[in-house]
Amino acid sequence: MNNIFVYCEITEEGHVADVSLELLTKGRSLADELKIKLEAVVIGAKLNGIEKEIFPFGVDFIHTADDGKFFPFTTGSHARLLIKLFKEQKPEIVLFGASSIGRDIAPRIASALKCGLTADCTSLIIGDHEDKKLKKVYKNLLYQIRPAFGGNIIATIINPETRPQIATVREGVMKKEIKTENYKGKLVAIDLNNVFEDLDFAVQIIDRHIEKQKINIKNSQIIVSGGYGVGSIENFKLLFDLAELLGGEVGASRAAVDAGYAPHERQIGQTGVTVRPKLYIACGISGAVQHSAGMDESSKIISINTDPHAPINNIADYTINGSVDVVIPKMIKYYKENSK
């Protein structure tokens, strides 16, 4: 009762998703701080042995529902089970991955339980809150910290009155760390009798397959963009590495597209797309007006260029006088070591 629950997603390969393991790690440390237990919920098919992946993260209870109809994921059946479980167990905190599954199901749960939900948290901390109007002090609330307003503000959200406090967190935000290989917890099967209604299985899956999304630089908040000065297709790969790491997209100047470094759909500027990301990293781009017209409203611009007098430096917030193949690996290295 009043414990921390983590909803564990099951991957195509039948394992617990990384994002869920990261949340178990976070859940364990929050549970220790609050001196409560950590519980996991796994709903899927052929879950035999799945507990071996979960207990080592310091999980005290695993609730499982194992049936062919629970995989692949459909909202209706999983939501019905979770709502029932949480009504019985009255968790203090529930964590979901901010994945296509977690962001689909968590709002339904919060809506049914009439409690607060905070999406895409970047940090979860325990803290107190004093409501000066009500002259009331709330102890040990979950501070749910997330960017809002297009990333222009960082908000700390709390749910003083309602339980559970529900949050979603993106993959890679929290650390994944095994607590003890032979941690001992209890495995409990969720009672599936008289739970479901026909409506819970109303959405029928006809087909699923892997298909890459179209390139979407226009809506990307972070763009790593390259020009002719990048020098080679190999160096351009560094841009892709950095963009992927930062959760951004790769853009290109016309010169880079003409040189065959990048396809046309990545072109930014007058003859390409116009972008206004939070961060624009211009690599080896001289910054002809045709290009800058398509990106000069970016919030923050970093220019990496061997030419200190490149026109793009005039609109950049930071200019790094150096070559792409030296600077980007250093950025990648620092980010990997310090981002969590």
Binding site: L117, A119, I158, L199, A202, N216
Partner: protein
């Protein structure tokens, strides 16, 4: 009975258009510098609804939005593009609602418009990026949901087939009505304004807007009822006031930290480890990355 499609749309500050003047010197958001726009994914949702309308006999598309008086702008925009009617939920008592309180109000308005077949909304709004109101509304209506719709594969009076965009792939699903659908930004862009519809609905107005006119045009609106954009208050949807606004919102904002953009003065750096590391640290600390 006609086939009723309700589109949930929101007017939002254009947070993507964050130029260098978007933040004031004291670090607060300069709202005046952010124009109010039609939430981008709600335009994808409108297009999705219009495509259903194109394929199903006797279908009508109704726009439902909640916001201040001026949110009537996006209802007009929807009418220009092919929607049939619009409702604006507007009341001071809605102010401060989080996603739970919002979905409560919206679900009551939808129930008032019932019976309906399809509720369509954008996946998320760019001012909050929560993607919560669609599923929360579906739960309150007690209907199934299909999130992240990318393509309308097929639809008839009985059922709908939709391709969904997931993280690592796509999924095609089929369901009968009523159902709620949230539409992903990778779905088809919204069709442009139609010149005839623009002429027809140019003067579509809410009662509040009419009252602000210097002349009394009421008789003209009585002759052309389609020009009336209905405003609904808390009383019109019989909502419990305690479940709305700040009191109906379980989530509270404890603190807000502004991500302060530095001035335009550019800093010149070399390529030493320290210089690059300091820059990355600054970007991480200010939450621009990470």
């Amino acid at each position: 009975m006609s086939f009723k499609i309700i589109v949930l749309a929101k007017q939002v500050p254009d947070t993507r258009n964050v130029g260098k003047d978007a933040m004031k010197a004291d670090g607060t958001v300069n709202r005046a510098a952010l124009p109010a726009i039609y939430n981008p994914e709600d335009l994808n949702a409108l297009e999705f609804a219009l495509r259903v309308k194109d394929k199903v006999k006797d279908a009508e598309v109704i726009i439902l939005t909640m916001g201040p008086f001026r949110a009537a702008e996006i209802i007009r925009e929807s009418l220009y593009r092919g929607a049939d009617k619009g409702f604006l939920l507007t009341d001071r008592k809605f102010a401060g609602s989080d996603t739970l309180a919002t979905s409560y109000a919206i679900s009551l308005a939808i129930k008032k418009l019932a019976p309906f077949h399809l509720v369509v909304a954008g996946r998320q709004a760019i001012d909050g990026d929560t993607a919560q109101v669609g599923p929360q509304t579906a739960e309150k209506l007690g209907i199934p949901q299909i999130t992240y719709a990318e393509e309308l594969v097929d639809v008839n009076e009985k059922e709908i087939t939709i391709k969904r965009r997931l993280e690592r792939g796509v999924e095609t699903v089929k369901a009968s009505f009523p159902i709620a659908v949230t539409v992903h930004g990778s779905a088809a862009d919204c069709r442009p304004r139609n010149a005839k519809l623009l002429m027809k609905f140019k003067h579509a107005k809410t009662l509040t807007e009419l009252q602000n006119e210097t002349k009394d045009y009421t008789h003209l609106y009585n002759d052309r009822p389609y020009l009336n954009i209905d405003e609904w208050t808390v009383d019109d949807i019989n909502a419990d006031v305690d479940a709305l606004g700040l009191s109906g919102s379980p989530t509270k904002v404890k603190t807000i930290q502004n991500v302060v953009f530095q001035s335009k003065d550019s800093k010149a750096l070399g390529t030493s480890n320290d210089e690059i590391n300091d820059l990355m640290k600054e970007l991480l600390d200010s939450h621009i990355i990470g």
